[in-house]
């Protein structure tokens, strides 16, 4: 007996503030005008995607004490933008990344409940935790929380938000709430009636054991970096395995890695295009910068087309600010050196080889087949697609790959319901 085919979940990431976007491409448009966001969102909705996704960074990244100037920088505030997108879309889910360290539960719960009302049940909240005091310098709270505290605050934050959302029964009058916990002591009456989804969808992004436990305990979707088949399967098995301890079923948490894609008329053409894109993403200046982030040293004297430095990384370095830290720079440097020596790669080539994320490269047919195989093979429930061009980078995917996924019976042909929970096949909370 064959099992029914699993449906793929797809989301569109508006790429910004990273080196994914090839901003020098003549087709690359504004990263801030509303029309760019509208274009990508409408394309995603045309493709019956589950949701549109915005990342967040609360301080401009710095490198060697100066504002980082090589990649796209500058973006709108997520929830405000998504409320505007709710006016120009009908079904598409709208996901905002909002930090649980530099916000307060009452306000955040109210803003997401407002988005859920104003979008007719399409709101999602990607709960991230900030690892650095550097970001804290923009906030009243300031300071730094270590990983354990960050996630205990995040979990209590989400629990408190859900308590507020639950304090107003469907169609009824609000009941007073009181939450007295380790991180928060709040009480009163919540100002927004129960929203169409009951609880906006909760997404988690963060990879440590604490992060996975947080996802297993309370997230509806996990946004991950594990996009290869093997790493994806291991992550998938690990996180799904943690759900039972919280009385949850494997289907209660959707695992969606962030991935890129490159399409071509032939396999060779797609590979060529992919190499060209990687080359443009890693400019000579970006290659040195990536190297400096691993080594924690000023390497501006090195030739990006020359060999890797033979000095050791500085583990105490504070060269890069506002990025997730590399856990073991010695191991990373050793790995990079070994690869460079084995293949005779320059600095720039080594960075290109080492910093890519999973990319689906090929003809629309092979890409559709591969995406499907990942999902049927237990490496993911779906994907958050990160195009390398703004805002038109999803057009070809929707025009060429989506119809093939539909033909394979792996993807919806139309929206079945109107809320994001319904697209994701999640229960509406009682």
């Amino acid at each position: 007996m064959t099992e029914p085919k699993k449906h793929i979940h797809l989301a569109a990431h508006f790429p910004g503030v990273n080196n994914t976007t090839v901003w020098a491409d003549p087709r690359s448009g504004s990263q801030i005008d509303f029309s760019s966001f509208e274009h990508l969102a409408r394309t995603a909705e045309r493709g019956t995607f589950d949701f549109f996704f915005l990342a967040e960074g609360l301080r401009l990244r710095e490198h060697k004490g100066r504002i980082h100037d090589l990649d796209v920088v500058g973006r709108p505030e997520s929830i405000t933008l998504l409320n505007a997108l709710a006016a120009v879309t009908d079904r598409l889910g709208l996901a905002a990344t909002v930090n649980a360290t530099f916000n307060e539960p009452y306000e955040t719960a109210r803003r997401f409940a407002s988005l859920d009302h104003l979008s007719g049940g399409r709101a999602a909240w990607n709960v991230v935790t900030s690892p650095d005091a550097f970001t804290g310098e923009n906030f009243r709270r300031g300071g730094y929380l270590d990983r354990g505290d960050r996630y205990s605050r995040a979990a209590e934050f989400v629990a408190t938000a859900r308590q507020l959302w639950d304090s107003w029964p469907p169609g009824g009058e609000p009941r007073p709430f009181a939450h007295h916990g380790r991180h928060f002591r709040v009480e009163g009456t919540f100002g927004v009636p129960r929203s169409p989804q009951g609880h906006p969808v909760v997404i988690q992004a963060g990879d440590s054991g604490e992060g996975r436990e947080f996802a297993a305990s309370c997230a509806d979707v996990a946004f991950t970096r594990h996009g290869t088949l093997e790493a994806g399967r291991a992550f998938y098995a690990d996180v799904k395995g943690r759900l039972a301890a919280y009385g949850r079923e494997p289907g209660d948490l959707k695992i969606m890695p962030g991935v890129t894609f490159v399409l071509g008329d032939t396999a060779a053409e797609a590979q060529e295009k992919a190499a060209e894109i990687r080359h443009r993403q890693i400019s000579p200046q970006n290659a040195i910068l990536a190297l400096e982030q691993v080594w924690g040293r000023d390497l501006s004297g090195y030739d990006p087309d020359g060999p890797l430095p033979d000095i050791d990384p500085d583990p105490e370095s504070a060269l890069a600010q506002g990025r997730v830290k590399i856990a073991d720079p010695f191991a990373t440097a050793a790995k990079w050196r070994a690869l460079s020596e084995a293949k005779g790669l320059s600095i720039r080539q080594t960075v290109i080889e080492n910093t890519g994320r999973q990319s689906f490269i090929g003809t629309p047919q092979t890409v559709a087949a591969e995406l499907d195989a990942f999902v049927q093979g237990g490496a993911a429930d779906g994907f958050i697609l990160v195009p390398h061009l703004t805002p038109g980078g999803l057009d070809d995917f929707v025009d060429q790959v989506v119809p093939l996924l539909r033909e394979r019976g792996a993807f919806r042909t139309e929206y079945g319901g109107s809320t994001l929970r319904s697209h994701l096949g999640l229960h509406t909370p009682a």
Binding site: D33, I67, E104, S114, E137, F139, R140, V186, E187, G188
Partner: protein, 337 residues
């Protein structure tokens, strides 16, 4: 020096407050109606303590469904993060293509303080001092990107010119912000700051920070005196009083066309006395009153050439006749003026 008698056409704004409404269509319909009447802007009140949606969220939802009307949500500055507030309002300006304003408000009740559980209730003096600081830091953050900071220079691989991005290094009494903003400088440079300057404490903040000051009064003579005071105090703070609009904020309740025509007469009368630059109308019931306001009051004012018939510009600043502010960092090459 007395204020020049107000003789330019009146500026009109309307409150579309509707605590207890939760659907986007309701607010969109009201904003479109106000736009049909070529009003300068709509305001939307907010409070953490009463049932109702987040005001900036509602007006962001309304933005793509309207084209010209200015959008001015109330924003609490007591329990929010100044950095987030500045980002949200800059974003409202981006999504509305230059039609955003904001109305800073404070919270002094224990009830609201307990919803956050982070600090005890503030007194009005402290809360308004802080609101002024929030307005100040918001403007600095809006300026922390110069307009031409994005360069996309392929030859050097640089997306931005970092010399045109500025730390704001703001140290207030209760908060500090390092900057720069994460949102590029919004289309209007600074979204329009609207402060209800009726009471003494917000008035002190208004004379420093407001582009539009609202004054709740029923009487044109006292409005005129207040306008004069606001302009004098703004000048004392080194501001050009011509860049401050003073609107009389009056409650209205319109049941019949006769009521609407009477309102037009009142507006015309105040205008003739040079009392205010315009009006902020606060309908008792926006759904009922706005129809008569736009259908009857507005045409009478237009007929008397007291109100424009179309929007000559696209941004809220243009509606109000306010120039786009010069960037405080661009002038000085780094340090705020």
């Amino acid at each position: 020096m007395p204020a020049p008698l107000v003789r330019s056409p009146v500026h009109l704004a309307v409150a579309i407050d509707g605590a207890g409404h939760y659907d986007a269509a309701h607010f969109t319909a009201l904003a479109r109606l106000a736009e049909r009447g070529t009003l300068d802007f709509v305001t939307l009140g907010d409070s953490f303590a009463r049932p109702g949606l987040d005001a900036p969220a509602v007006l962001a939802r309304v933005a793509p469904a309207t084209e010209r009307i200015g959008l001015v949500p109330a924003v609490n500055t007591t329990h929010t993060e100044p950095f987030h507030v500045s980002s949200a309002i800059a974003t409202l300006d981006w999504v509305s293509r230059g039609r955003a304003g904001w109305s800073p408000e404070v919270s002094t009740t224990e009830t609201e303080a307990r919803l956050f559980g982070r600090r005890p209730a503030a007194n009005a003096a402290d809360a308004w001092h802080e609101a002024g600081e929030v307005a100040d830091v918001a403007a600095r953050l809006w300026d922390s990107w110069e307009d031409d900071a994005e360069i996309r220079d392929e030859s050097t691989g640089r997306f931005v010119d970092r010399d045109k991005l500025h730390h704001v290094d703001f140290e207030g009494r209760t908060f500090s912000v390092r900057g720069p903003a994460i949102v590029p400088r919004p289309p209007q440079g600074h979204p329009v700051t609207v402060i209800d300057a009726t009471a003494a404490r917000p008035r002190a903040a208004a004379v420093r920070h407001a582009d539009v000051a609202l004054v709740r009064t029923q009487d044109p003579l006292s409005a005129r005196t207040t306008r004069q005071e606001l302009r004098d105090r703004a000048r004392a703070h080194g501001r050009d009083p011509e860049r401050l609009r003073v609107l009389g904020s009056v409650p209205v309740e319109l049941h019949t066309t006769a009521d609407a025509v009477e309102l037009a007469a009142l507006i015309g009368d105040w205008h003739a006395q040079g009392a205010v630059d315009g009006f902020h109308l606060r309908p008792a019931d926006p759904e009922r009153d706005l129809g008569l306001l736009v259908g009857a009051t507005v045409p009478v004012l237009q007929h008397r050439c007291l109100l424009r018939r179309f929007y000559p510009g696209a941004t809220l600043r243009e509606h109000l006749g306010l120039a786009r502010p010069v960037n405080q960092y661009a002038l000085t090459g780094g340090s705020p003026s």
